[in-house]
């Protein structure tokens, strides 16, 4: 998107037409409101960037189907030229015509027609170049079908547009709604517009609309339309004196029959522009991220680097893109409706004055006067940036151009940097609303992402602080390691041929996150379908399970205009977190996952685990939609974003911790209730405080030994060549994915599902034990992850072998509680010095049970859980594993 420069932000508003009361769609669901349809179609307009078009920025829905569109705006328009009442010089007319045609041709190439061309929609920037405004209205309203008002202005309508008739005619004789107009209609409008410029006055202004339209239609029988028009307005002289080229242009534009009229792109090539076209270079779109072309291939640096900064003024904000400025404007307290109300564009009557008097059983209302405030006033209001600039007054210039080289300080060293570091500690919700903070984050992320994948590591680092909402889509793609020419890949997938899954997808989409305006729009549904189909088709070994739609939703929402990226992100996300969840027979994967989850509950919250097991409320009953959709099925999008911001930084075992932390938030209610109430509670999950959930799950994650969440059906280790290509990807909490570590014999070994299910507590690997006990391990261990806190070991190793075995050799720091003597007949912890003092004293730390008989260790752990000892786990493979390491010690004989 282009920088703001001297442009302004403008807003205009209109109403979508109301739906007829109580009509259902063909699928039995309520019809989509027209405003949502428009909102969905609008999104595409944001991607259209051309120097001759006003950049569309945003659309928002207000009450009662009101829509407010935000776009680039310039105060001056051709209307002002017209108002001066003097003819514009023919050369200038040609220039304007050429620029308008450039814009029109670009639009046509993207399947769009302007239809509302008129002097006040042709804006002029400071340098006098043309910027077309409101060019997307015809597109976003489905050729005028979704609004009550006709699109276009009576004097400028092309004859064929008039002949097609208009929508919403109450007259039943014109049943057929009009067919959409083609690109050539705009050429006629342009012709009228240029004619007005040439003669320096508006035409057909003083007569009644129906007469005006009749006049235009009747031009069809005239030979020379330009002359007739000139005669009609008494300016034949001026027209006759026009240079050859200008008058030829007029005649070409004002050709009555569309088949004889040129299209904008044909006209651009026409000889009338011979003198003009050489002044312009055709616009080329800059290559974006993830494209096959070289992003900097055409970068040419001047000899003297300082020349680069020559033309940049002090207004650094103006160098940011329009979308960013608008985003910040909103954060700085901008309120669209208020701005429009202040300018008198939105005038609303008190609702008590507009109530209907009588309503029929089917909902049709009567006795309601026509409300004038619903009439179209398409004046564009300039949004004042004063407030925003005031807000950002203190931000130093360096903040706009942070240096990325220095790994140490990523935040700019400006006067406000101290405040910013203080800001980091504020709650995320507040940071996301802080204008200054967001500006700095956006600038930083924008730069980092432009340097992706080179700056991948720094993206990870910054993402740990937070991700600015404006750039979340790209930031996530970077975190997921999306690379390559994704568009070409996406294009090459066949998304059209019907497949058996279509029916299910069709059923699921209208039920997926439909509270959201984007995702409930017809455009959203189309995109949904395409991305889902693309994924299903391109993963032949996997199948569509219900829930994949929810999983797709956040990616589609964030990358609404970039399906390829949404697809690429989803394709990268699923193997990372949901490996093989979408197999046709996924029961073994899910069963193992849920078993590990219930072990995690027992590990972190034995009391809750005991209660849930007692009432038989097992994870199979509630947690499958959680994990299968990575919580997208249970939370609204805005919460998913915050959750996933963290999830994407963790490894595939992080979801367990999220699950446990959700349970912990509902702990009191779960503990107090029986099976039925719990089922009811989870059928409609209560509000979850997501920030707390994230915070607690990070905490839980830090307490969880890496190997405790080992799953044999997890994603296998990637080949080393793959991961070493860009250095190791740093992860949030641990250096790398557990599965990524090289296999040694100290790793955990796969267990049969039945065995796994039988154990209450998780097993951990010998490796983890060594690391956690800070034993001097074998050399292949690279770096300790957590800084050892002297004097405060996090772990207690409990050796439950007989004391003789213990004395023959044990792990340093471990205590001995022989299995046979520890528990009484009814599972009570027997009172003996070792148990009462040591175990109780170490309550809260990770307790590792070590034995040479795994079964004994598991039983021992189960007993401990039963008496509510948290963080109990078992050493996988038992003592035998440790023997080979040579780390065992023999206690010195007691003196």
């Amino acid at each position: 998107m282009q920088p703001l420069r001297d442009a302004q932000l403008g807003a205009f508003t209109f109403f979508a037409s109301a739906l007829p009361h109580d009509v259902c769609g063909s699928n039995g669901l309520p019809l989509t409101p027209n405003s949502i349809k428009i909102l969905g179609r609008f999104q595409y307009l944001k991607t259209l960037t051309h120097p001759r078009l006003c950049q569309y920025v945003d659309i928002s829905r207000g009450k009662h189907e009101r829509l407010v569109v935000v776009a680039e705006h310039h105060e001056e328009s051709l209307k002002d030229c017209q108002r001066r009442g003097k003819p514009v010089s023919p050369d200038r007319v040609l220039q304007i015509a050429f620029e308008i045609l450039e814009g029109l041709a670009f639009m046509n190439k993207h399947g769009m027609v302007h239809q509302a061309l008129s002097p006040h929609n042709v804006l002029l920037d400071r340098k006098g170049h043309v910027k077309l405004a409101k060019f997307g209205l015809y597109h976003m309203t489905d050729h005028g079908a979704d609004v009550d008002f006709p699109i276009g202005y009576p004097s400028y309508l092309a004859p064929e547009v008039i002949a097609q008739g208009c929508f919403r005619s109450t007259d039943s004789s014109l049943v057929d709604p009009p067919l959409p107009s083609g690109p050539k209609s705009d050429v006629w409008s342009l012709g009228i517009l240029l004619f007005e410029l040439c003669v320096g006055r508006g035409i057909l202004q003083n007569i009644d609309i129906s007469e005006r339209l009749k006049f235009i239609i009747n031009l069809g029988v005239m030979d020379d339309i330009v002359t007739v028009l000139a005669e009609e307005h008494g300016c034949l002289e001026i027209i006759k004196e026009l240079p050859e080229k200008a008058s030829a242009l007029l005649r070409k534009c004002l050709t009555f029959l569309p088949s004889k009229r040129p299209t904008p792109s044909e006209l651009l090539e026409d000889s009338v522009f011979e003198g003009v076209s050489c002044l312009y270079t055709p616009y080329q779109k800059a290559a974006g991220l993830f494209s096959s072309s070289l992003r900097c291939a055409h970068l040419e640096l001047p000899e003297d680097i300082s020349e680069l900064c020559k033309d940049e003024g002090d207004d650094y904000l103006a160098e940011r893109s329009i979308a960013e400025v608008y985003h910040l404007w909103c954060l700085a307290g901008g309120d669209l409706e208020k701005e429009l109300t202040n300018k008198g564009i939105i005038q609303s009557k008190p609702p008590v004055c507009t109530l209907p008097k009588f309503i029929l059983e089917d909902g049709e209302s009567f006795g309601q006067g026509r409300d004038r405030s619903f009439l179209l006033d398409d004046t564009t209001v300039t949004l004042s940036l004063c407030q925003l600039k005031n807000r950002l007054k203190e931000v130093a210039g360096e903040a706009y151009y942070p240096l990325l080289e220095d790994e140490q300080s990523s935040l700019p060293q400006s006067s406000s940097s101290n405040e910013l570091t203080a800001a980091v500690s504020l709650p995320l919700i507040i940071r996301e609303r802080d204008t200054e903070y967001q500006l700095i984050r956006i600038v930083l992320f924008d730069r980092l992402l432009k340097a992706y994948p080179y700056k991948k590591n720094q993206v990870w680092k910054e993402a740990r602080v937070d991700i600015p909402p404006l750039l979340r889509g790209l930031a996530w793609a970077a975190l997921l390691g999306v690379e390559g020419d994704i568009q070409a890949k996406y294009d090459s997938i066949d998304k059209d041929t019907p497949i058996p899954t279509d029916r299910q997808i069709e059923v699921d989409i209208p039920r997926c996150h439909q509270y959201d305006e984007l995702l409930s729009s017809p455009q959203g549904h189309v995109k949904f379908r395409r991305v889902l189909k693309a994924w299903v088709v391109s993963h032949p070994d996997l199948v569509y399970w219900q829930g994949l739609d929810s999983l797709c939703a956040p990616f589609l929402y964030l990358n609404f205009n970039n399906e390829a990226l949404a697809y690429a992100c989803m394709s990268a996300f699923i193997p990372k977190y949901l490996y093989n969840f979408f197999l046709k027979d996924n029961s073994h994967v899910i069963q193992e996952y849920l078993t590990v989850f219930s072990q995690m509950i027992a590990f972190h919250d034995p009391e809750l685990s005991n209660h849930l097991n007692e009432i038989g409320f097992i994870p199979d009953l509630y947690a499958i939609p959680w994990f299968l959709t990575m919580f997208t099925h249970v939370f609204p999008l805005h919460k998913i974003f915050h959750l996933w911001d963290t999830l994407l930084l963790g490894n595939s075992s992080f979801p367990f911790c999220i699950g446990v932390s959700i349970l912990q938030q509902l702990r009191d209610r779960l503990l107090a209730n029986g099976f039925n109430e719990c089922i009811l509670l989870f059928s409609d999950l209560p509000e979850i405080d997501i920030e707390r959930c994230v915070r607690e799950s990070i905490n839980l994650f830090c307490w969880t030994p890496k190997s405790a969440t080992y799953r044999q059906h997890a994603q296998p280790t990637k080949s080393t060549t793959d991961s070493s290509s860009l250095g190791k990807t740093p992860s949030y909490f641990s250096t790398s994915e557990f599965q990524d570590l090289p296999k040694t014999d100290l790793c955990r070994e796969p267990l049969k599902l039945a065995e796994l299910k039988a154990e209450v507590s998780p097993r951990i690997s010998a490796e983890d034990l060594i690391e956690l006990c800070e034993l001097s391990g074998p050399a292949h261990f690279k770096t300790p992850v957590k800084k050892p806190k002297p004097g405060k070991a996090k772990i207690l190793a409990v050796d439950i072998r007989g004391s003789e075995d213990f004395n023959r050799g044990h792990i340093p720091g471990s205590i001995n509680i022989p299995y046979s003597s520890a528990f009484g007949p009814d599972g009570e912890l027997v009172q003996c010095p070792a148990t009462t003092t040591t175990l109780a004293g170490f309550r809260g730390r990770v307790i590792v049970i070590i034995s040479n008989v795994m079964k004994n260790a598991a039983t021992f752990a189960a007993h401990l859980v039963r008496v509510n000892y948290p963080r109990v786990c078992v050493l996988d493979g038992g003592m035998n594993k440790m023997k080979s390491t040579g780390l065992l010690t023999v206690p010195s004989p007691q003196i």
């Binding site: 014109l174 709604p177 009644d208 609309i209 008590v352 009588f358 004038r372 009439l375 090459s492 609204p636």
Partner: protein
């Protein structure tokens, strides 16, 4: 009837692409549907995949595909356009009709071409009042309103007194007559006396009615004039007298707090509040309240003196022209008048205080009656049209007979599920009253979610959405008074039905208005027992998801 987008005359055209691979000359022919709906890149990708086209022609294929589609689309546009123009020249479409249609569309929908608005007294007054009530002058306004209220209620009590006296006198007379019955008087005579009494009563009532009407008319005019004047004076800061007046007046009429009386009054009302969340993923918060009270209690002003009256008045006045209105559902029979039952009681309450903003209730009802007749006429003409069309098209016409039956009734009456709306500025807690028509069916035990009364509720909620009525009171049992057949199971069944339906409608509403927080009050008749009330209040959280209480402790 929804207008579908124009019949898209789909045509199939063949795209031909030739290329050379080595010495081989290959031809690719693809039939394409026009207008092309699908994405060109997708189409291109699919062609490459499907036909195993060598990659060295990839770009050529794409270019020629794009040009082909572009040129063919333009040709289609041209054809369509010329066909349309042809229709005009051939006279198939009347040019006058067409242009008039355009002119009408512009005039009706755009500000630029619309007829200028005639100034409306109501709205200007609304603006002025809204501004004043949100200024220091609000106190003065309320005091003025109150003094008018007092004078009207004096008048009313005088009327009641006189009526009572008359009735007493007549009773004595009647007694005498009855005693003489069979002696000097015949049945005929008794009837005559009774008729005389009735006439006398009527005359008196009419006299008072016209007097009241006159007084309220004068009050309203005085009030409105005064408000306008006050507004003008306030705008003009030089004129400080009125400001002084406001200051002086505001100290008057301080309320004497009679806590005891108030407590007594409040005790009879049982109420319980709930905060609920609706929605599967995105949850919206709403307030629900279960209230045991007489429906007219929400309308009646409490007798002067009790505290809270002024506050409530102020609250109602402040929000009158705002975007948070309060509504009430009143269940009425099928006639638009105020002669009997709850309608009469409601009308009496409305008279107790002058409405300074909206027409009197009887005037509003008269207008409603006209609108009803108009609506019926519209409907029947539309239906006739449809029937003709249906017969014309020889399609099935099953459902239409049903509706014809309704039309055979008196067109001035309304049918169950329909409702009319009246507006009030003079009621205690209500601005808008929905008069929902119900029949005796609601007393039976077996109404369903498809019942007209329930559908009426849905439409009421819809109007609430479109007109910013954020507080709505609904009679939970769909009756205002209890009777014998309404047993405990009946009540529970009915309450469950209404709770569930309203929940469904509220969830639907979230999609209409984007989930604005609302307050829904469920009203149960005064006469149900306290125990019943608690049963109902236990039922509510089982149907709605009550939001969890906020725990302020830091640990779990």
């Amino acid at each position: 009837m929804r207008k579908t987008k124009g019949k898209i005359n789909a045509t199939e055209k063949e795209f031909v692409f030739e290329f050379k691979a080595g010495r081989k000359h290959c031809v690719l022919k693809v039939p394409l549907q026009f207008p092309v709906q699908e994405n060109v890149s997708d189409l291109h990708g699919r062609l490459m995949l499907l036909h195993n086209i060598p990659c060295f022609v990839e770009n050529d294929l794409k270019n020629s595909l794009v040009t082909f589609i572009e040129s063919e689309t333009i040709r289609d546009y041209d054809n369509d356009a010329e066909v349309a123009l042809q229709r005009l020249t051939s006279g198939e479409v009347d040019i006058n009709k067409l242009t008039n249609c355009w002119a009408k569309a512009y005039a009706e929908t755009t500000l630029e071409h619309a007829r200028p608005e005639e100034p409306s007294w109501d709205e200007d007054f609304a603006d002025v009042y809204h501004e004043l009530i949100h200024s220091p002058a609000s106190d003065t306004l309320l005091n003025l309103e109150h003094s008018y209220y007092v004078s009207v209620s004096e008048l009313i009590s005088e009327r009641d007194m006189e009526l009572k006296k008359l009735q007493e006198r007549q009773a004595v007379e009647m007694d005498k007559v009855m005693q003489e019955l069979g002696k000097t008087m015949s049945d005929q005579d008794v009837n005559t006396v009774a008729a005389q009494h009735f006439d006398a009563q009527q005359v008196l009532e009419n006299k008072w009615a016209s007097e009241l009407k006159q007084v309220t008319g004068i009050q309203k005019q005085e009030y409105q004039e005064w408000v306008i004047k006050l507004h003008q004076d306030l705008k003009n800061p030089n004129n400080s007298t009125i400001n002084e007046e406001i200051k002086v007046q505001s100290s008057q009429l301080t309320e004497s707090v009679e806590a005891g009386e108030r407590l007594f009054e409040e005790q009879r009302q049982l109420e319980e509040s709930f905060t609920i969340h609706l929605g599967a993923q995105l949850k919206t918060m709403h307030n629900l309240r279960l209230v045991r009270a007489n429906v007219l209690d929400l309308c009646k002003h409490r007798r002067h003196g009790s505290s809270g009256v002024k506050l409530r008045r102020l609250q109602t006045a402040l929000s009158l022209y705002s975007v948070s209105l309060c509504g009430l559902v009143l269940l009425v029979d099928n006639r638009v008048n105020s002669y009997s039952g709850i309608k009469r009681d409601f009308a009496t309450v409305c008279q107790e205080c002058t409405d300074f903003h909206f027409p009197r209730l009887d005037e509003q009802l008269e207008l409603v009656q006209q609108v009803v007749l108009y609506a019926r006429a519209q409907r029947s003409s539309k239906q006739r049209e449809q029937q003709q069309q249906q017969q014309h098209e020889m399609t099935r016409n099953g459902g239409s007979e049903d509706k014809n039956k309704n039309l055979e009734r008196n067109p001035a009456n309304i049918i169950p599920g329909e409702f009319y709306i009246s507006r009030h500025s003079n009621l205690s807690e209500v601005h808008v009253v929905f008069h929902l028509c119900v029949d005796d069916n609601v007393r039976s035990g077996n109404i369903t979610a498809r019942d007209p009364a329930i559908m009426g509720l849905r439409n009421i909620l819809k109007v609430c959405c479109s007109h910013d009525i954020t507080t709505i009171t609904i009679p939970l049992l769909l009756v205002h008074d209890m009777s014998e057949e309404m047993t405990i199971p009946w009540c529970l069944k009915r309450a469950e039905l209404v709770f569930k339906c309203v929940k469904g409608f509220m969830m639907e509403m979230a999609s209409w208005d984007g989930g604005i927080s609302r307050t829904v009050q469920f009203l149960v008749p005064q006469s149900i027992s306290g125990e019943m009330f608690y049963q109902l209040s236990n039922m509510l959280p089982q149907i709605f998801r009550v939001s969890s209480t906020l725990t302020l402790t830091s640990k779990r």
